[in-house]
Symmetry: C2
């Protein structure tokens, strides 16, 4: 039997209980409170090299064969929304997390937590959507689990997926590998996924509905790596949007990420919905967008490669990495004024993924 | 981009909607209805070689390095119960699924779905318990995800874990590898976990409370394999208990599993609680017990190895594999009468894991 090092179960809770005696929606919102929970509780308890990388997934190394491993649970409501649904989201979300490690996604697990009374037909639509998404992303769903909870103790359907991918590149792709001078490349317009969900929830009507950008990003990442583009870091823009992703990377790399506001594409309908509902599109969730930090000499080539993919037709260079304000993200307006783009404290969009 | 084979989204739902228009608790109960859901819906949609093995986990083979991959979600209530809690359960459950593939468990992911309002101290107790269990089972929690759902849309805390293990044996361990003549070995007494939970929920009081058997089984499996015991199949006895596990194996192997009723150890307090509450201990969930199908010549050696482990002190040989009634599990009483031990249709114990 393995010796168990003594664990001090009397350790006090590392999240300041006086301020947050209970978990709030904001603890799951992708902003400052979620970061605090992860850093102060989960990393404190589970801390190890793989977790300490602060990556979307873990990199594993079983006897020379390098793998990536990632997980996400999906609690989005409604289950079906313009452009996608919880099933495709659950596949693409984990596929994308693996791709952001520089891995080729191969295998997925799926865990269903079903609320008693869910229409069987609903489950079947979701399962078919997962299968379709798995085919499109070239991954196989190889193992799974089903739990049913009593009525009123869940919300229709929650799905967890975990994924394993193979690292076929020797490149060190992670937030800490970002370098001063790196070009920041964005794969397309931002804010679609979050606004597709919120417009539906709020009953906003547009001439054509805003559709989620939900899409697999592994093929475009594969092409970047195969072409030998010097990629230093990749991150998909989920909860908390572009601003939160850049903040996490700037914080880990201890460098400044400087963005030109006018360079960030935002669809007119998305911008309109954001104005009506009081959101900043830079903080709104996406499910088919990434930022790539690449060596400046490779920036144009990287943009050209991304643009060959359906999910990357609007790819563009939006900024660069500097050293003046370590850990900060700055946004330059068209007239040259700069402001700091901070992490949000609260929950901007609950149950968005 | 990957070509997407056309998927026919008009396929009708493969679970007979007329009989089960909605998901019921029994669809998650480990019995016949859950099997039907898995076979008719999930395997239909996701079917592939790894999934078709009907194993507790998938076996992967990235360029010659053989891995196992498994997942489970945990929705047990209450979160804390005699002998264990949801955190240790979430670690040991997935560790055990990997061990049942013959793999050495190495890495876990964890996905938390937290209901808004959960006391932060509760989360911290669970997280510490997971860390303690991970140390005891010699695995590392390397990646994770946190979602928070609104109050009334969850039940305190659900946890998903997925795990990756390394297959260090060339032995083909799976239900289809079971052979006529194999000895059936059980690692200890049955019914503790389910009765620990049910006694607590029902307010039954005993002189000493029934404690869950929740424990990692990877070390005893490692010892069996290292000693060269000819193991054909391993299965941990979770939802649906011993009877359901044996039925699944008999069904996949298309052989008869014949068990001597008197050989199956059941603790007196567990038997008493089962009688009061109307359960059959052979169908009650365990979280630290396994059955091993081994070549008859190795049976005594296998029992001796299991008995060296805390979780295996009561290991014993309980039966053998025959050919007369393919797909059936038979139970012989002390006076020699035999009855068929069938799969249960309904949900015997909801939210047990």
């Amino acid at each position: 039997m393995t010796d168990v090092p003594p664990t001090d179960f009397t350790l006090s809770c590392p999240v300041p209980i006086s301020r947050y005696p209970h978990v709030t929606l904001a603890h799951g919102g992708g902003g400052r409170l979620m970061n605090q929970l992860i850093e102060q509780m989960f990393v404190t308890a589970f801390g190890n090299d793989a977790l300490n990388d602060r990556h979307d997934g873990a990199r594993l190394d079983p006897a020379g064969r390098r793998l990536a491993f990632s997980t996400d649970s999906y609690v989005v409501r409604p289950l079906f929304f313009p452009g996608s649904d919880i099933g495709a989201l659950a596949v693409n979300g984990t596929v994308n997390d693996l791709a952001m490690c520089g891995a080729r996604p191969r295998w997925l697990s799926t865990g269903f937590i079903i609320e008693e009374g869910l229409p069987m037909e609903t489950l079947w639509r979701v399962v078919q959507s997962m299968q379709h998404a798995a085919l499109a992303a070239d991954v196989r769903i190889v193992t799974g689990d089903t739990k049913v909870v009593d009525k009123g103790k869940g919300d229709g359907l929650f799905i967890n997926t975990a994924g394993v991918g193979v690292l076929e590149t020797d490149r060190d792709i992670r937030p800490a590998a970002v370098q001063a001078g790196d070009a920041v490349i964005l794969s397309g317009d931002v804010g679609r996924h979050g606004m597709a969900i919120m417009s539906m929830r709020e009953g906003l009507e547009f001439e054509s509905p805003i559709e989620s950008d939900c899409a697999p990003l592994a093929a475009m990442v594969g092409d970047l790596l195969e072409a030998g583009v010097e990629v230093h870091c990749l991150r998909d823009l989920t909860r908390g949007g572009l601003a939160s992703a850049l903040n996490e990377i700037a914080g880990t790399a201890q460098l400044q990420v400087d963005i030109a506001e006018a360079a960030v594409p935002v669809d007119d309908a998305v911008r309109g919905a954001c104005e009506i509902l009081g959101f900043d599109p830079l903080y709104v969730a996406n499910e088919g967008r990434l930022v790539a930090f690449v060596a400046p000499a490779d920036a144009d080539r990287a943009v050209a490669i991304l643009r060959k993919h359906d999910a990357g037709v609007a790819a563009c260079r939006i900024g660069e990495v500097k050293t003046e304000m370590p850990g900060r993200v700055t946004l330059r307006s068209q007239i040259g004024a700069a402001r700091i783009l901070d992490l949000l404290s609260g929950e901007q969009l609950p149950r968005i993924c």
